[in-house]
């Protein structure tokens, strides 16, 4: 008995919690991305006049892409479930103390909010689609005819987006058994990481939908394979810099929050210091600093600053780097979190 409890010769003594593979990081990444898209699209509805909004094609495509990405993320989440046939039970109750419960209800509400946001300007964004399905015009007119409804949709999108973004972090941080995750900073960190990836995605879409001559050659190559996905439009000289600037602020905040997360852990108990050491000097240090901080934050920050200063053209590179960095942040935090352990301090 002593053998198996003290020396942990029996693997069942410690609960095996390193169960999460690619599904959860994928969902956390897509969830954060969609949260960012919702917030940006919501702000657009609240802050801009209808005439200005029409030009913002990317913000209509944004919620549409968001719907698709969220479905992918939900699929990943579903694949991770142990008892897949029991998923409906989450919607028979609401437990205010359970992040899982919050998450499942938020996700349910996100769909109609995103859809309403997308429909508002859909006919102008994709006229071909509106011609095929005339009812879209009716819905769009219905929404745009009521300015209070537009405001409401905008606010609901912002609130739900913030909730979704923070919830993806809280989902991890409520698990006390994993010292690396047990920090309230994780919520805002994931929210701002989600915002930065969303701004980067929209910026990337803008770059891709430029007229052929101005697009990067690589994008041309990609697009020619994908046929005529979208009509070419001139790069929106108002929106692209705004998105890049917003992305830069989000990235800076994300960097600061990462710093706070590490400082918080380093000034906490021995267990938390060991958890932070996983990222600072331990087996995750190289991937963390290279893929999350270097390629995911610092390099795109530099590139976007140069773009904003009109030193270089707007390219796909920062968007791809930020998206990759956001995904790497989720993958590494989930993996390193599962490697951090209370028992490690005792050994």
């Amino acid at each position: 008995m002593i053998e198996s409890t003290i020396h942990r010769h029996n693997a069942g003594i410690d609960p095996a919690m390193h169960l999460w593979g690619w599904e959860i990081p994928t969902y956390l990444f897509l969830g954060g991305l969609v949260a960012g898209l919702m917030i940006i699209a919501g702000v657009r509805l609240v802050a801009m006049r209808p005439r200005e909004r029409q030009a913002l094609v990317c913000c209509t495509i944004g919620p549409l892409v968001g719907l698709a990405l969220l479905s992918l993320g939900m699929l990943a989440l579903f694949l991770d479930l142990e008892h897949k046939s029991h998923v409906w039970r989450l919607y028979l109750t609401f437990r205010p103390t359970s992040p899982m419960s919050w998450g499942s209800w938020i996700l349910l509400l996100v769909y109609p909010a995103l859809a309403a946001n997308a429909i508002a300007h859909l006919p102008e964004a994709i006229p071909a689609l509106a011609k095929r399905i005339p009812v879209l015009v009716t819905w769009s007119d219905f929404i745009l005819g009521r300015s209070r409804l537009v405001l409401a949709i905008g606010f609901v999108n912002i609130v739900l987006g913030i909730s979704l973004g923070i919830y993806t972090g809280i989902l991890l941080s409520t698990m006390g058994a994993r010292p690396l995750w047990s920090s309230a900073v994780l919520g805002p960190l994931f929210l701002f990481s989600g915002l930065s990836t969303a701004a980067a995605l929209l910026h990337g879409i803008l770059v891709l939908t430029q007229p052929a001559g101005e697009r990067p050659g690589f994008a041309d190559f990609l697009l020619s394979a994908l046929a005529r996905l979208s009509e070419s439009r001139p790069l929106d000289h108002k929106v692209a810099p705004t998105l890049a600037a917003a992305d830069n602020s989000f990235l800076t905040i994300e960097l600061a929050l990462l710093g706070l997360l590490l400082v918080g852990h380093l000034t906490s108990t021995q267990v938390h210091r060991q958890a932070a050491a996983l990222l600072l000097t331990g087996p995750y240090a190289a991937v963390f600093w290279v893929f999350v901080v270097g390629l995911g934050i610092l390099v795109p920050l530099t590139l976007q600053t140069l773009e904003l200063g009109h030193r270089i053209r707007h390219t796909l590179a920062p968007a791809l780097l930020v998206l990759g960095g956001g995904f790497a942040l989720r993958v590494i935090l989930v993996a390193a979190g599962q490697a951090s352990h209370w028992a490690s301090a005792a050994n």
Partner: protein, 423 residues
């Protein structure tokens, strides 16, 4: 602080990867800025129309070489620890020809193809894909060409060793060669490429001092200094910081106790070199398992790199302490000596004395462990209350170096685990 930092343990594997990332970003950035992401530009050098590849690469070589020489000369860098790829003459000539053909056809070398690929050039991406395919193919056929790939091996050899000329002289020669190549390159570009030499270049027919010329003159000056400055490699002349060494010796931080050493050997630790400084005859008679023999009379730094951890021992402690001081003066930092020498090893490891019958329980437990250690090294316990076994009444004769009744794990060879290295 002594370079190379990684080899001296200033940081570990993880941090070295982060450093690699930062230097990699820097290298990629400057290669791209030099125009090396463009296949046409790179291929132009083979037609002598645009020789910027030659100029950039030669500048890099000369800068690194002079820099290494100066750092080595000032004792800030241990040149013997710089990784050198072993030379295999015939296979490397063949490989070089293949690489050159690929360079002319495709317009890229491996590094520049990566630069080109990440700047979004499709030919660069195809080139990188081909490179990966080639690596996979090479790995597959390697067993059948291994004999050729390992033929004409010359070891890790440098030009000064090959030509038997002083290191500094070669530095000077390469500097002159580089400057000659720069001038020839500009001339060829003018003749064949129709390029007008940039204002202030070496070819401009004025005596004006331009930045390029100032740089060239300072390079020549450094080269000339190197030619008379001698070898930056380690020399047998050492230097000590008396206060530092006095502190270390006084606080006994340079000691390894015999039981600790025994534990290290049993644990199979391979991060230290155990050195016996007695005569070869004594070494043959008995030595601690895993030790190598470097008699004090022939001691030099050749048997170990400066970043190794070295433990000296001799019969008593005097010769080991002298060896300790000598290697410390040569700049070896991780040098230790076995406290009490072989005498102490015999007394406390090989033939420990049993405690009195009235000894406390913890002493008895400690002794049981020491008895087991003693058995591992082929020794025996001394004293009245010894555990069963052939009690030897007087000073026993030492058993052979490697005990025959050793447990399953044999005493490890004290081979240093090499840090990963690559070019």
């Amino acid at each position: 602080m002594m370079a190379p930092f990684f080899k001296y343990g200033l940081f570990g594997d993880e941090f070295s990867l982060i450093v690699a990332f930062v230097t990699g970003v820097g290298m990629g950035f400057f290669l791209e800025r030099a125009g090396f992401g463009n296949a046409r530009l790179l291929a132009a050098q083979f037609y002598f129309r645009d020789l910027r590849v030659l100029k950039v690469m030669f500048t890099a070589i000369v800068t690194a070489m002079v820099g290494l020489y100066v750092l080595g000369g000032f004792g800030l860098m241990d040149l013997s620890l710089i990784y050198l790829t072993p030379t295999f003459l015939a296979p490397q000539i063949v490989g070089g020809i293949i690489l050159g053909i690929g360079f002319i056809i495709g317009g890229y070398c491996p590094g520049t193809s990566c630069v080109s690929a990440v700047t979004g050039r499709i030919d660069g991406m195809v080139y990188v894909a081909g490179m990966i395919g080639g690596l996979l193919g090479f790995a597959e056929v390697y067993p059948s060409i291994e004999r050729f790939a390992r033929s004409t091996g010359m070891g890790k050899i440098t030009l000064p060793q090959l030509f038997d000329v002083p290191y500094g002289l070669l530095v000077f020669a390469v500097v002159l060669m580089a400057l000659g190549a720069f001038v020839a390159a500009e001339w060829a570009e003018k003749k064949l490429g129709g390029k007008v030499p940039a204002a202030g270049s070496l070819l401009e027919p004025t005596l004006r001092v331009t930045p390029v010329r100032a740089f060239a003159v300072s390079l020549v000056a450094l080269g000339a200094f190197a030619a008379i400055g001698g070898s930056p490699y380690r020399s047998p002349v050492g230097k000590v910081d008396v206060r530092e060494l006095a502190l270390e010796a006084g606080t006994k931080t340079d000691h390894v106790s015999a039981p600790d050493l025994a534990d290290w050997i049993i644990e199979g630790r391979n991060d230290f070199i155990l050195v016996d400084v007695r005569e070869a005859k004594d070494f043959a008679e008995y030595h601690i398992p895993g030790a190598i023999n470097v008699p004090l009379a022939s001691l030099s730094g050749d048997f170990a790199d400066r970043n190794e951890r070295i433990v000296f021992y001799s019969d008593g402690g005097i010769h080991a302490a002298q060896a300790w001081l000598l290697l410390r003066s040569l700049g070896y930092r991780g040098v230790y000596l076995l406290f009490g020498g072989l005498e102490e090893w015999k007394d406390s490891v090989l033939f420990p004395t049993a405690p009195a019958a009235a000894a406390s329980a913890s002493e008895q437990i400690a002794f049981a462990k020491r008895a087991a250690v003693s058995k591992y090294f082929g020794g025996a316990v001394q004293g009245a209350s010894a555990s069963p076994g052939p009690a030897v009444p007087t000073a026993p004769k030492l058993t052979p170096a490697v005990p025959t009744d050793a447990p399953a794990s044999p005493p490890p060879a004290a081979a240093k685990k090499k840090k990963k290295e690559g070019c």
